[in-house]
């Protein structure tokens, strides 16, 4: 059945064309030679042997990292569990110390920290559900924590933050704006393109010259991260639909169907003088081309949790498995788990969400291992922002409000895991973990402090490190991350990837 549809489409003239042969593509990116321009744009990139992929897992709504990575020690010189508990215990938001999953942090002198209990093995009715979660990947050196990451235009000390002379990201603490900044890695002005899209703009031609699908795939709708100047993403549903059917246009098999399909395809190269018509047609062009390319994709064997994030990562794993047939050597993926805007009932919400993403990430890692590509795929998190260390409300409904700096996870066989990464404050003070004191040196405010941490590592630094591992040429770095130059010493200090 699958084969017959594919043959049918081929006969009908919608078989895989080179990407740039699409009429709408030419309209979009220039009539002279979009191809030539892309050669020019990408001349600093040479194809790298082997396969690599980046997977962005976005915690939508602003994940409260303060309850995800918690001090588990009593060292008096650095924020310890007592400092954490003092600020969150009264309102009932502190995770009990006994339930934390302990991890050692070499960078902080081997002190113990704790991961949220739902990131480890969990049992339901006495049985482990799906897998052991991501906790033991930390101990295996496959999972790293990057601390206090956030949107920045330039490094900021507290005094600089409180002065109007130093530029801050626009509309701090606002969801949509901070999401856009995390996804564009541009915080001084509104940007049209995401940093994933810009990486793809620079690297597609050299690495996926005849890829049958775009370099970027979103399993979660249209996202600014995935949009480049010349890159449009593939956007498909999660693994609830097999790849072979995920873009399946229906109804071309009844009376007049073949003629209808021919016309359906032909209409998309007409009336392109309207930019809106051209844009709509181009998306459908990509869809029809990908539909053909995906017709013979295979399933994966690892058991994934049947949650949204589980199904999304399973779909990613299928695409990675199909990489040779799709003619791609570099891929970027976007997956998302929502519900982190925990103004209320944070504790139970976190239990659910942390279980979901931890289990899904672990299944994904295990599947990559089964495919022997675990060293070629790096999965990393981003979020709108962190949340106030000071709780909002108390008791069963206790939650947190919008804040800023936040902790991130990076997972993969190439990751220098089992440690924390980050930066000291711009003036050289502090440690690699924020000082958990309301009104303290990392808090934005001194009066009425809520515990909004000023990030010590910018999204630009974090993203640039990921992009460099992925193969972005050093010469293209400034174009993809225009504000990186504001961070002296650049990105090489972070070191969570080779």
């Amino acid at each position: 059945m699958k084969g017959s549809r594919r043959d049918f489409l081929k006969k009908s003239g919608s078989c895989a064309l080179g990407m740039t042969a699409l009429a709408t593509q030419m309209h979009y990116f220039g009539t002279m030679s979009a191809m030539a321009q892309r050669v020019m744009d990408s001349q600093q990139n040479s194809p790298d042997a082997g396969y690599k992929a980046l997977v962005l897992l976005f915690w939508s709504g602003g994940n409260d990292g303060n309850n995800m990575v918690v001090p588990n020690h009593s060292d008096g010189t650095i924020s310890n569990y007592a400092a954490y508990s003092a600020a969150r215990g009264t309102q009932g938001l502190a995770i009990p110390q006994a339930s934390l999953l302990p991890i050692a942090v070499p960078r902080l002198g081997g002190l113990s920290y704790g991961l949220h209990p739902n990131l480890g093995p969990l049992t339901q009715n006495g049985t482990t559900i799906v897998n052991n979660g991501i906790y033991d990947l930390y101990n295996q050196g496959k999972l790293a924590v990057v601390t206090n990451v956030g949107n920045l235009v330039r490094p900021l000390t507290k005094a600089q933050y409180q002065s109007s002379a130093y530029q801050k990201p626009y509309q701090l603490f606002s969801h949509s704006d901070q999401v856009n900044q995390a996804q564009t890695s541009i915080s001084n002005t509104q940007a049209f393109t995401g940093w994933g899209g810009r990486v793809s703009d620079k690297m597609t031609l050299a690495n996926n010259p005849s890829g049958l699908i775009p370099m970027i795939t979103s399993i979660s709708g249209s996202q600014l991260f995935t949009a480049g100047q010349t890159t449009l993403p593939l956007a498909i549903n999660d693994s609830g639909t097999p790849l072979a059917n995920v873009l399946n246009p229906a109804g071309f098999t009844n009376s007049g169907g073949a003629a209808r399909l021919t016309a359906f395809n032909a209409l998309r190269s007409q009336d392109l003088s309207s930019n809106y018509i051209a844009a709509a047609s181009h998306v459908t062009d990509l869809a029809m081309q990908a539909n053909t390319a995906l017709a013979s994709a295979q399933d994966v064997s690892t058991l994934f949790p049947n949650t949204s994030i589980g199904r999304q990562l399973k779909q990613v794993a299928r695409l990675i498995k199909d990489r040779t047939d799709l003619n791609v050597t570099r891929q970027i993926f976007y997956v998302q788990i929502g519900g982190f805007d925990t103004h209320t009932v944070e504790l139970t919400t976190h239990q659910t969400l942390y279980t979901q993403f931890s289990q899904a990430m672990r299944s994904f890692y295990d599947e990559l291992s089964a495919q022997s590509v675990q060293n070629d795929v790096t999965t990393f998190s981003l979020s709108d922002f962190g949340r106030t260390f000071n709780p909002a409300g108390s008791g069963a409904s206790v939650g947190t409000d919008h804040a800023w700096g936040n902790h991130m996870f990076v997972m993969g066989g190439s990751v220098n895991g089992g440690d924390f990464y980050g930066s000291l404050r711009p003036d050289g003070s502090g440690t690699y973990f924020p000082t958990l004191t309301l009104g303290g040196p990392d808090d934005t405010d001194t009066s009425s402090p809520r515990g909004r941490w000023i990030p010590t590592t910018s999204v630009d630094q974090y993203a640039a490190q990921l992009a460099r591992w992925y193969g972005l040429a050093p010469g293209d770095q400034a174009a993809v991350f225009p504000n990186l130059v504001n961070f002296p010493g650049s990105f090489s200090q972070l070191g969570f990837l080779p």
Binding site: Y170, N188, A227, D271, S274, S281, T284
Partner: protein
């Protein structure tokens, strides 16, 4: 004389409507010609090279003296346009100039000035800077000719060439381009090749169909007749008076759910079976409101109110993602529909106190000791004034970059934030203490959260400290600075909290951003994604003052949007005019156009589309926006273009196929009855098309009819011949085949980008 009489008549008509007297609406009302002339960019006498001169020289040189020359990037020049008819106050911001370079990239050059040229009738000098304003691409190549296009009121001029850096180069003229020299006595303006509709039907039928796409959920023959008879203006007045929802489709009357649902109505069939089995679905879920909403869109008479409420629902968003019960959503929707033709300030107050909104954005939990910023932030950011200071025409009001210590900056201009975190904190304090009225209100039932009556104050939870709210030029001090309520107790707190809320809402309502911010979003919802600043400015001016000193009069705003010269006209040719039909509009426009009925055609559709993979897969499930940022943000830029197109956030490889698949379902498969969830099903009726199809085996009459009904007679000849080929592929033999031909054509038009983009 004639004009005078009709004006008097109009006033009487308006007065009669205002007084609620039913006037003789059968009388025809003359609408003005909706069409604007097509602008013509002037060229040299013997080529398509623009008549252009540096701005510095323009006042010293007569048109006939202008010689061909190249211009430096970033220089300020003057070009000349003719065949336009500018209104009073219609200046530079009504015009856009687009340039294409030899790489095929499009740039936007800012237009700085417009003035008429002395001694030449109907010739205007347009001052522009050769600096790309869009910033999407690096600057245009300065290595030869570029092509300039000017757009005005959704119409494009011819394209003329302009030397950038130097003259010459590889760029080709548009096919059929001819010189367009300045008019001199005895000569006539050349004919400019532009898209023109091929009329079939009545005068301005294209404009009327476009109007219905903008003001309703799609045309029907009956609606078309009505508007043809009474005119756009009278139809609007009629719509303002119609009862809502329509008779026969009242709001679902679901009870509020007690703390826990009764065992026989709790969606748990195991412990105690529900009676009937659909009890939970009908009583508490979103099933009823969703089907009700779509039925009202498909069949309702009060189309404009329903459309406006839907537009407002995409600004003041709540969502079934968090909102638990159908009744909650209905009570929220009643606020939208009741105020759709009212005043925006009233809407703001009622929505602020609406328990569904209170629950959705956590204001119902916000207290002085545990303030929650959620609603306070979004009411400013999304529902009223937006993030950045705007000019009255909706464009950003930028400052020269104030951060001298930066080593680099992507832009020299920086937007000015409308407010900061301190404002959010203060606004939050003003709105503390309000929660559902679970005791003592008309609909209070012990143990059942009351989502019907407005929220009430819990005195002890209200913040009594001083607050400072939005500051702006013209802010009323009493609204901006709210003093502390020192030593207040009891009723004094209640009075203080109520007064503070009104002060705060007035403080927001009077902010200069409100008219352009909301006007632009409403234009995007109803007419076009990328309105000119002039259009936004005209509507915003009416929002700020309806002519009688009233701010926020939504009837006046709707009229200003729908009757504007940029909205009206039989055809729009500007490449950046129009909007992608959102899934709801795509669905209802196709359905209404072809006699939507139940599966068997004998009764009405039940409106049950939600839950189908192909409908849900289009990513716009009514009352189920993913977040408070709606299904799509108003500011969404289409990747690869930098062009504003909000609905394109819903246009992905996945949804584009689902759009085609849902159209396929409606046309070829129908939606079958499936008890209990789909009681009637849905089908379209192609009987009249089948007759037309049968009457003409060549298929041409069928294409004519569909071109008029779906494309307002703007179908291109290539599109027509492509579809005709697919139509005539089906043999002209049986009556079933003639029906298949009709379906073939409707499918191909409805799934085409040419139709999916409403222009």
């Amino acid at each position: 004389m004639k004009t005078k009489i009709s004006q008097v008549f109009l006033r009487v008509l308006t007065l009669a409507l205002a007084l609620g007297i039913c006037p003789l609406l059968g009388l025809a009302q003359e609408d003005p010609d909706p069409n604007s002339p097509t602008p013509v960019l002037l060229s040299a006498p013997d080529s398509t090279r623009a008549l252009a001169v540096s701005a510095r020289e323009s006042s010293r040189i007569a048109l006939y003296q202008i010689a061909p020359q190249a211009f430096a990037p970033d220089s300020k020049i003057v070009i000349y346009v003719s065949n336009i008819d500018v209104m009073k106050d219609e200046g530079a911001s009504a015009f856009r100039v687009y340039a294409e370079d030899s790489r095929g990239r499009e740039y936007v050059f800012p237009v700085d000035g417009l003035k008429s040229v002395a001694n030449y009738r109907n010739v205007y000098a347009v001052t522009l800077r050769l600096t790309d304003q869009a910033g999407y691409w690096e600057p245009p190549l300065a290595d030869g000719d570029i092509l300039l296009r000017l757009t005005w009121r959704g119409l494009t001029s011819n394209r003329v060439r302009l030397g950038l850096g130097s003259m010459g180069g590889t760029i080709q003229d548009d096919p059929g381009a001819v010189p367009t020299p300045v008019w001199t006595k005895g000569s006539s303006l050349p004919t400019i090749p532009t898209e023109q509709p091929s009329y079939v039907g009545y005068k301005w039928s294209g404009d009327r169909l476009r109007f219905m796409e903008q003001a309703t959920f799609g045309q029907t023959p009956a609606l078309d007749s009505r508007i043809r008879r009474i005119g756009l203006r009278a139809w609007l007045s009629e719509q303002f008076q119609l009862p809502y929802p329509s008779a026969g489709n009242p709001y679902p009357n679901q009870p509020l759910k007690p703390g826990s649902a009764p065992a026989d109505c709790d969606n748990d069939q195991v412990t105690v079976p529900d009676v009937p089995v659909t009890c939970y679905r009908d009583t508490y879920s979103m099933y009823q409101p969703q089907a009700w909403f779509l039925r009202e869109a498909l069949y309702g008479d009060a189309q404009l109110r329903h459309r406006m409420a839907w537009a407002l629902a995409q600004i003041w968003v709540t969502s079934g993602v968090d909102v638990q019960q159908g009744r909650h959503m209905v009570e929220y929707h009643k606020v939208l529909s009741a105020n759709a033709f009212g005043n925006y300030r009233t809407l703001m107050k009622q929505m602020t106190l609406n328990p569904t909104m209170g629950d959705y954005l956590s204001m119902d939990l916000s207290t002085k000791n545990n303030p929650n910023e959620n609603y306070a932030r979004e009411v400013m950011q999304l529902f009223t004034v937006g993030l950045f200071m705007l000019k009255p025409n909706g464009t950003l009001d930028c400052l020269e970059h104030p951060f001298p210590d930066m080593t680099t900056c992507a832009s020299t201009d920086t937007p000015i934030p409308t407010y900061d975190q301190t404002t959010v904190n203060n606004m939050t304090k003003v709105l503390t203490g309000w929660t559902e009225c679970n005791n003592g209100c008309p609909n209070s039932v012990s143990g059942t959260p009351n989502y019907i009556d407005p929220m009430v104050l819990v005195n002890g939870n209200h913040d009594l400290t001083a607050k400072t709210l939005l500051n702006y030029n013209g802010a009323i001090p009493a609204d901006r600075d709210i003093a502390a309520c020192t030593g207040c107790t009891g009723t004094a707190i209640a009075a203080y909290a109520s007064a503070s809320m009104d002060h705060a809402l007035d403080n927001i309502f009077n902010h200069p951003n409100l008219p352009p911010y909301i006007s632009r979003i409403l234009i995007q919802q109803l007419v076009t994604s990328n309105p000119t600043p002039a259009y936004v400015g005209r509507v915003a001016a009416v929002f700020a003052n309806n002519g009688f000193g009233v701010r926020g009069d939504l009837q006046a705003v709707i009229k200003a949007i729908l009757l504007d010269v940029e909205a009206r006209g039989d055809v729009k040719t500007d490449p950046n005019y129009g909007k992608l039909r959102e899934p709801v509009q795509l669905t209802t426009n196709v359905a209404r156009n072809f006699g939507v009925a139940s599966y068997d055609g004998t009764s009405l559709s039940d409106g049950v589309f939600v839950g189908r993979g192909d409908f849900n897969g289009m990513s716009q499930i009514p009352f189920f926006a993913p977040t408070v940022f709606n299904f799509y943000p108003p500011s969404y830029e289409i990747p690869g273009t930098g062009l504003n197109g909000p609905e394109f956030a819903l246009m992905t490889t996945s949804t584009s196929i689902q759009r085609a698949n849902f159209i396929n379902t409606l046309i070829f498969n129908r939606i079958n009855v499936s008890n209990p969830n789909i009681p009637n099903g849905t089908s379209l009726n192609f009987t009249d098309l089948q007759a037309i199809s049968t009457s003409d085996p060549t298929g041409n009459l069928l294409l004519d009819e569909l071109n008029r009904r779906m494309m307002h007679s703007t179908m291109s000849s290539t599109m027509r011949s492509t579809i005709l080929t697919a139509v005539t592929n089906i043999a002209a033999t049986t009556s079933e085949n003639y029906l298949q031909r009709a379906k073939q054509a409707v499918y191909l038009i409805a799934t085409s980008s040419q139709y999916q983009v409403q222009r």
